[in-house]
């Protein structure tokens, strides 16, 4: 494994002074009683061991790298500027190539590969555009609303996370087979059984689009033709396949004349904004999160909307704050909604604390759920009645955390709050 290419990549790790500042912010490490190999500094050492040929590729080694939430907390803390999340992905890439991953990781990566190709990582491509029925929204335009499969199908994710808690690893097998189950039509059963959950995630999309329309922002939506951004390929270490997929997506957007993307899901947004420029030559599509567009319009026209009296706390999704650099805009929206009192949690903005999402919650549900619970406890310590955020994966994890912590607070998407307030004025 000590290839010259890997050694070259590892060179930046020699910048690390081993100061351990990264250890003080890693959510996974805190949940794993400070064990060195589980934290960012340990992952740095392990990457060096792999690159220098001191450690052999193995599923046990791979597990250390798959345990990274890629939340970038350590990167923002590191004076030397080392992004251990990036190295975790590189290590996954090497270890997948060397077939040194566990059978479960292999099954999940295979499932992800199939899902991305079909247009939906949960294998629910046939129903992913269902949320837009009844909306007056064109199929083509320069500005696309990129709905993402995570938003439209996150209810499947919620169900899968539930399945993983079943005994005898039944869940693992079902998760691995989810793509197949979807393709043989099981999603019909799921659609009827999980209406509430599906509606919850899909509403965030509906409310995003309706809000943009109220504010006079014209967007198009590709519906069933919308490609998957492929970020899950990257997350699980299928970097070459992600690169190839990204080029295909660029071609699709070019053919449609797309110049601007507005996403609700910051994970896809981060992929388009930070990964695509690295992997795709001449990527020149502007990428914005829906809260950026809404906040811009509110400030431009000095808009304020009356809302129900409530105290909210805002959870900054890692991918929005630390990859897309969006921290003030959601606060602008909340502060311009009258009667809403915004209280900040101890960890906020770029110092936010991961809620256990980030792509590996299906691999390590126990660890990730504990992180979610701990984040929820911190958020409700502010006395807020509602936890507000704007990411489908954070929604999934925070709802899970609320359930585990047994607290009264409710989760609400920021665009749902906004639309509820804006529509009453706009009518």
């Amino acid at each position: 494994m000590a290839s010259p290419a890997l050694r070259e990549l590892a060179k930046k790790l020699y910048y690390c002074e081993h100061c351990g500042l990264c250890r003080s912010v890693c959510p996974i490490l805190r949940q794993s009683s400070q064990e060195e190999s589980v934290g960012p500094r340990g992952r740095k050492t392990l990457f060096l061991g792999l690159a220098e040929g001191q450690l052999n590729p193995s599923p046990a080694l791979a597990e250390k790298f798959y345990l990274c939430a890629t939340c970038r907390a350590c990167y923002f803390k590191c004076p030397a500027g080392i992004d251990i999340g990036e190295f975790s992905i590189l290590a996954r890439h090497e270890l997948v190539k060397a077939q040194a991953v566990s059978p479960f990781v292999r099954r999940v990566t295979s499932s992800v590969r199939g899902g991305v190709t079909r247009g939906d990582i949960f294998g629910a491509a046939r129903t992913k555009a269902k949320w837009s029925r009844g909306l007056d929204i064109p199929g083509n335009g320069e500005t696309l609303f990129f709905a993402s499969c995570m938003d439209s199908s996150m209810a499947y994710g919620e169900a899968l996370l539930g399945l993983l808690q079943l005994p005898l690893r039944i869940g693992e097998r079902l998760v691995s087979a989810s793509g197949t189950l979807q393709s043989i039509g099981l999603y019909h059963l799921f659609e009827s059984a999980a209406q509430g959950s599906l509606r919850f995630y899909r509403n965030a999309l509906v409310d995003s689009v309706k809000s943009l329309q109220i504010l006079g922002v014209d967007v198009a939506y590709m519906r069933d033709e919308e490609p998957c951004c492929g970020v899950a390929l990257h997350t699980y270490g299928l970097v070459d396949e992600f690169s190839e997929h990204a080029r295909k997506v660029q071609k699709i957007f070019a053919e449609k004349g797309v110049k601007r993307l507005i996403t609700h899901n910051p994970i896809c947004g981060a992929a388009f904004k930070t990964l695509y420029p690295q992997f795709v030559k001449d990527w020149n599509i502007e990428v914005k999160h829906v809260t950026e567009v809404v906040a811009e319009k509110m400030s431009e026209h000095d808009l304020r909307f009356p809302s129900k009296k409530t105290t909210v706390t805002y959870h900054d999704p890692c991918f929005l704050a630390r990859y897309m650099n969006v921290v003030e805009e959601p606060r602008t929206i909340l502060k311009r909604m009258e009667n809403i009192q915004l209280v900040e949690p101890p960890h906020s903005k770029v110092d936010t604390y991961c809620d256990g999402g980030g792509g590996v919650e299906l691999l390590y549900p126990d660890v990730c759920q504990d992180i979610a619970e701990s984040r929820v406890k911190e958020l409700v310590s502010t006395g807020a009645e509602k936890i507000v955020s704007c990411c489908p994966v954070c929604a999934l994890m925070l709802k899970e955390g609320i359930r585990k912590a047994g607290v009264k607070a409710q989760y609400a998407d920021i665009m749902t709050l906004f639309y509820e307030a804006a529509k009453s004025v706009h009518r």
């Binding site: 910048y15 081993h18 100061c19 351990g20 500042l21 003080s24 009683s33 400070q34 064990e35 050492t45």
Partner: protein, 467 residues
């Protein structure tokens, strides 16, 4: 029995016995679990442990150490792993005792000015908790957010506030220690004064894990000062900055910290923190504490001295946020150096009498030029402690060799000036030879007999210091 990696049957038997003590989850033996424990912040020293054991109680430590002593297995106690001299690298393999699970603050007594802690408590966490009671523990190593109290005590760490308040040895009342034979003893007392027999507490503090494992500590704490003021100043010449330090002390003021940073550190801090600091030859950071009236009076006095001494830009932090930002320049500037150099940083350490500080700073620069090594300078200037920070390409073995030679010459220069080879980083592997130079054979003989009395089987952190 010499437990080494690659001795599977022996390891397996020991593992089973240790598992009965701490549980399966807390005995680590796979290569990917062990490898991250093969190094500390010295980075150039590496050695694989045979096992890592993660106890949770003093009683578990007793059982582990008893077993290790019986089987003559080396034991290396480890906290945050931020040591710069290879102090927790298991050079003779054996067991690394990871104490980070023993992380409870047991008691904070405002009346007794005492705080009892387990060794794995993170320094920064303790600082926050004490702050809630209006207290503080003065030692403040730069690695506060990641180092543990056990590590701070074992290395007698100091930090920036050492100028006014001294090092860890000055702020300890008593210890609970598991000796190499597995016996647990208590040293010192829980009172603010005690004068009973040999001072085992202060012998064990700073002994770098060679005499036993600290399993609990009673720290002497003090009420936090009413207010602290932070000043910053920039100089066009390093010597002028050095002279300003002397003038501050001559005026009768005792600051809490007086930190000196050279142009390289300022540039690196600018790169990382985007503060737009002036591109000066040297920067100084000064903290003053006391009552509001005292601080206001001394701050004005120091501002005047700095201006008279030729400082180009003297400022007083106006808010808590500004104070924190200034502190970050000092604490994280050096770690950001690779952003500029593209090389690994190797922070070194020596201390000279204050009167020799300007000479020492000049000589470090001359030696750096001689050995063609980029060296940045950080200094706890108020107590004569200097950290030359080397930037080294660790993939180039000749550069590593030059760095070692340069470090040796710098330390010998410090000794020539009546200084010491370590102000606070300690000896570990890195400075064992230099310790011999500094202490001389007679002192070393005494130290070695103390080591033998505590640890006849030489199982506690063997291969460290010169004992």
């Amino acid at each position: 029995m010499h437990l080494r990696a690659g001795d599977p049957s022996v390891i397996e038997e020991i593992v089973q016995r240790l598992v009965r003590v701490v549980g399966q989850r807390n005995v680590l033996s796979s290569p990917e679990d062990l490898y991250p424990y093969s190094m500390d912040a010295s980075l150039e020293y590496r050695a694989m442990p045979s096992l890592v054991v993660r106890p949770c109680t003093p009683e578990e430590v007793v059982e582990i150490v008893t077993l290790a002593n019986k089987e003559k297995i080396p034991v290396v106690a480890r906290g945050g792993g931020t040591n710069f001299v290879g102090g927790v690298v298991p050079v003779r393999s054996g067991i690394v005792l990871d104490l980070t699970r023993m992380n409870k603050i047991l008691e904070i007594s405002r009346t007794d000015l005492r705080c009892d802690v387990e060794p794995g408590v993170i320094h920064g966490d303790l600082e926050k908790e004490l702050g809630k009671s209006g207290l503080f523990w003065p030692p403040d190593p730069g690695s506060s957010e990641s180092c543990t109290i056990g590590g701070v005590l074992s290395t007698n760490a100091g930090g920036m506030r050492a100028l006014k308040y001294g090092t860890a040895r000055d702020w300890i009342l008593g210890l609970q220690v598991v000796l190499p034979n597995g016996e647990m003893i208590r040293t010192g007392a829980r009172t603010l004064k005690s004068n009973v027999g040999y001072d085992l507490t202060r012998l064990i503090v700073g002994s770098e894990g060679t005499l036993g494992v600290i399993t609990e500590a009673s720290l002497k704490v003090r009420p936090a000062p009413e207010t602290t003021s932070r000043l910053s100043a920039f100089f066009n010449e390093m010597e002028k900055a050095g002279a300003a330090v002397a003038k501050i002390f001559e005026s009768g003021v005792t600051p809490v910290i007086v930190e000196l940073m050279d142009r390289n550190v300022i540039r690196a801090a600018n790169e990382w923190l985007h503060l737009g600091l002036p591109d000066a030859e040297a920067s100084m950071l000064i903290d003053l504490d006391g009552t509001k009236e005292e601080v206001e009076y001394t701050a004005k006095k120091v501002e005047h001295i700095l201006t008279e001494a030729g400082a180009t830009d003297v400022q007083r932090a106006a808010s808590k946020e500004e104070m924190e930002q200034l502190y970050l320049i000092r604490r994280e500037g050096q770690i950001a150096l690779p952003r500029l150099t593209g090389k690994m940083t190797m922070p070194h350490d020596f201390c000279v009498p204050l009167s020799k500080l300007p000479e020492a700073l000049r000589k470090v620069q001359e030696l750096a030029e001689k050995w063609k090594m980029p060296v940045a300078i950080l200094s706890h200037a108020g107590d004569g402690n200097v950290h030359p920070i080397f930037s080294v390409d660790v993939t180039d073995s000749s550069e590593i060799k030059r760095a070692r030679e340069l470090n040796k010459e710098i330390c010998m220069m410090a000794l020539d000036l009546g200084g010491t080879v370590s102000g606070e980083h300690g000896i570990g592997i890195d400075k064992a030879e230099l310790m011999e130079h500094e202490c001389g054979e007679d002192s070393l003989r005494v130290m070695r007999s103390i080591k033998r009395a505590f640890d006849p089987n030489n199982i506690m952190n063997p291969g460290k210091m010169a004992v």
